[in-house]
């Protein structure tokens, strides 16, 4: 980039970090495209939820299935992965004060991803890829659909390589001392899982593309499902790792959350890398192609080590926040630290809601549904979308939104527009999603299928009459979905207005709250000079096992009890079925 008037780098007046212009532009471009994809996905979401709400039943069948594919691609792939590319650029450059590796190549890769995106959008909207997000063969889409996905995946894979190259540069140029920050470590985890994921993507989409143009006679449908889920679920693990990294980042920015123990948190990230990819096998628990031994090995020995990692982060993230707040003087009682937390800071509320919904709803349902036998009463029912809307949407997407409220002033150097709306947006979004997820989960428990246009079965040869309660659950889903879409559209409006029309800021004055700037930037959670002594005191042996974080121990205790109850209730439900073996 040889624009003479633009300086190569600037020093952030708020954080003191060196930010390189090349990196900043790449972060911005990826973030903007990400939000555009979110908009497309959110509009599709509204139309879909108004169709699945059987009382409304808006779309005709063709458009329901078509938009279901559009929604999946735009949300799970485009929105999330563009944002993750922004996160990778941010973590490797801004957090390490480093310059990006080969920025022009970065633009080439961005272009490749964009080209792939546009091709996929064309294929889906024009009805040339009515195969849904998963595109299971022998259902066949237009060859360009597969090619578009390949372009996108290759671009993303190359950006990931650039991320690693940037880390090498930062180390070699001594941009930081010691080990990379925990947040960057989390981003590295996400990037490693991304490589595993995208290689599987190539393994599954290249042969499928060749099959679609007639060069290969057949793609084995079961083998495709195996490989596709190594892409489809592993990509959700990129999200998990990126989300946990953002949890640590937002904790630090909003309340001065501390890292309790680097060994524990980093080991948990390593467990993700080692075990989480095999967890994809839980999509195949009631498939005919695999033995029970294969299913159990992959989903228990391996997946549960990744579950362990999530349970560790589920403790260390809130405990780090608790300790951070206690060290800053909010020591009263078990939950005084929560009472004094900045609930009006959208970065903070996003963080807390993301942790709570991801853990309590997404985590517990995910592990339970991913159990070999329990999957019999869950597979392809609405319990499945109920689960993943609580992980990837109310967990990952909300964490990304929370991060955006800090990226707007720090990277885009704009005030957050519609500040009052921004302060409540995380609550609207998360609240709507909770209703949506509850509605879907309970409807699914009565056997309501996912990916289904008409649960009144008006065109089927035999009547299917669901329990009347299902109508209520679908209404709850519909209302929750509308609220969640309002939350998402509010976020989009805030982001777009801030980026293109927001008040530019050069320096953020400390002290008084400012409309449009999150609390963590106007009143940074700085620790006192004697913080290490305070820390020793809080960890005094006299304080017992609960130590410095008794509130969090109480919270994870509640979590564990909920987990155990939900898990065994599902085993009990299983015993009501026919005998199957």
């Amino acid at each position: 980039m040889s624009v003479v008037s633009t300086p190569v780098s600037r020093t952030c007046p708020t954080t003191g970090r060196t930010i390189f212009a090349d990196a900043e532009r790449l972060i911005k471009a990826n973030a903007v495209v990400s939000v555009v994809a979110l908009l497309v996905g959110a509009i599709a979401a509204l139309l879909l939820v108004l169709t699945r709400w059987q009382a409304v039943h808006l779309l005709p069948a063709v458009w329901y299935y078509r938009l279901l594919g559009v929604h999946g691609m735009n949300m799970l792939i485009f929105f999330i992965i563009y944002f993750e590319m922004a996160v990778l650029w941010f973590a490797s450059t801004v957090l390490l004060n480093a310059r990006p590796a080969a920025p022009r190549f970065g633009w080439f890769n961005f272009g490749l991803m964009l080209l792939g995106t546009l091709i996929v959008e064309w294929a889906q909207w024009s009805g040339n890829a009515d195969v849904l997000f998963t595109s299971y063969p022998p259902l066949k889409a237009h060859p360009l659909f597969y090619l578009g996905v390949i372009f996108f995946a290759v671009g993303a894979l190359l950006v990931t390589c650039q991320f690693f190259a940037t880390l090498v540069i930062a180390k070699r140029e001594k941009r930081y001392e010691g080990s990379v920050p925990l947040v960057v470590y989390g981003a590295v985890t996400a990037a490693i899982i991304a490589v595993i994921t995208l290689v599987h993507g190539a393994m599954v989409y290249v042969p499928t593309f060749l099959w679609s143009v007639g060069l290969i006679g057949e793609v084995d449908p079961q083998f495709y499902r195996l490989l596709w889920w190594a892409l489809g679920h592993s990509s959700q693990q990129i999200n998990v790792a990126a989300m946990v990294a953002i949890w640590y980042m937002l904790g630090g920015l909003t309340v001065g959350a501390v890292v309790l123990n680097e060994k524990v948190s980093r080991s948990a990230f390593v467990l993700y890398i080692m075990f989480i990819s095999m967890a994809s096998a839980h999509h195949l628990l009631v498939d005919p192609g695999f033995s029970p031994a294969w299913k159990i090995v992959n989903t228990s020995y391996f997946m549960y080590m990744a579950v362990l990692a999530s349970m560790v982060h589920g403790f260390t993230v809130p405990a780090g926040m608790e300790l951070g707040l206690r060290l800053r003087g909010y020591t009263d009682g078990l939950f005084g630290w929560l009472r004094h937390a900045p609930w009006g800071d959208p970065g903070f509320s996003s963080l807390v809601l993301s942790v709570v919904v991801f853990g309590f709803v997404g985590g517990i349902t995910g592990v339970t549904l991913g159990t070999e036998q329990i999957n019999i009463i869950a597979h392809n029912t609405m319990r499945i979308p109920g689960h993943f809307h609580s992980t990837v949407v109310s967990g990952t997407a909300l964490a990304f939104m929370g991060a955006t409220y800090y990226l707007l002033p720090l990277i885009f150097r704009r005030k957050v527009s519609f500040w009052k709306l921004a302060k409540v947006q995380p609550y609207i979004f998360s609240g709507g999603l909770l209703l949506l997820v509850m509605g879907m989960t309970f409807a699914g428990s009565f056997g309501v299928p996912r990916r289904h246009w008409d649960t009144s079965f008006s065109q089927s040869p035999y009547e299917v009459l669901f329990n009347p309660a299902v109508d209520i659950f679908l209404a709850v889903m519909g209302i929750g979905g509308i609220i969640a879409v309002i939350g998402a559209l509010s976020f989009i409006a805030i982001a777009v207005a801030s980026v293109f029309f927001g008040t530019p800021i050069t320096d953020i004055p400390r002290g008084a709250p400012i409309v449009g700037i999150p609390n963590g930037l106007t009143n940074p959670p700085v620790h006192a000079a004697n913080v290490d002594e305070l820390n020793e005191a809080l960890h005094a042996p006299s304080r017992g096992i609960a130590g410095a974080t008794p509130g969090t121990l109480a919270l994870v205790g509640i979590f564990l009890v909920s987990f155990v109850v939900y898990y065994f209730v599902n085993w009990k439900l299983l015993t009501f079925l026919w005998k199957i073996g």
Binding site: G178, P449, L553
Partner: protein, 201 residues
Amino acid sequence: MLTKVHTGLEPVPGIWWRPAHKAEKVWVAIAFAWCMVLFAMMPLWHYRGGQNPAGVRRRVDPKAFYARTLQFAAQYKVGDDRGVPIVQAPPGSDVYLVGLTFQWYPILQLQQGKEYTLHLSSLDVNHGFSLFPVNVNFQIVPGYDYALRVTPTTSGDFRIICNEFCGIGHHTMVGRVIVVDENGTPVADNAAAKVKSAGEP
């Protein structure tokens, strides 16, 4: 002993591999123990539980499976509902069900409390076998025969919903399974084929 206080945004100088505090250790130990319980439940259920997605699984030519199903239907046909044969094979035998866009073939009539080997497969694309209202769900993949030992414990008129997207007519794909009770009481003549009483004794 404690690490210097820092957030996750700061690089960590020196050695960070330090012992964790008791609270963390306790939680990691509890979480690990719980994961072991989760792990133990699956194999345990194979020995002690009545619902497992095990069965016998093998590759099969979709056309051959379809032909086998047609032959099976012709052999044990006892009735007919809207052109689809109702098929009652003796208890203990192998019964066949094939999914094809957008139909389940044939209509199986089973006896409550008797074990059958239920062969599931597809002639064309992926389908989802979802027994309503019992809520038993299996993935049906073309080219693979999923043979499950099934004992209906309730009688009634059941539905099979397709719950894997199989094309534009996916939502019309509904089949029937009839389970007669131990006395062999016929369920219905199926002209109306209501499902209201399904699952009730």
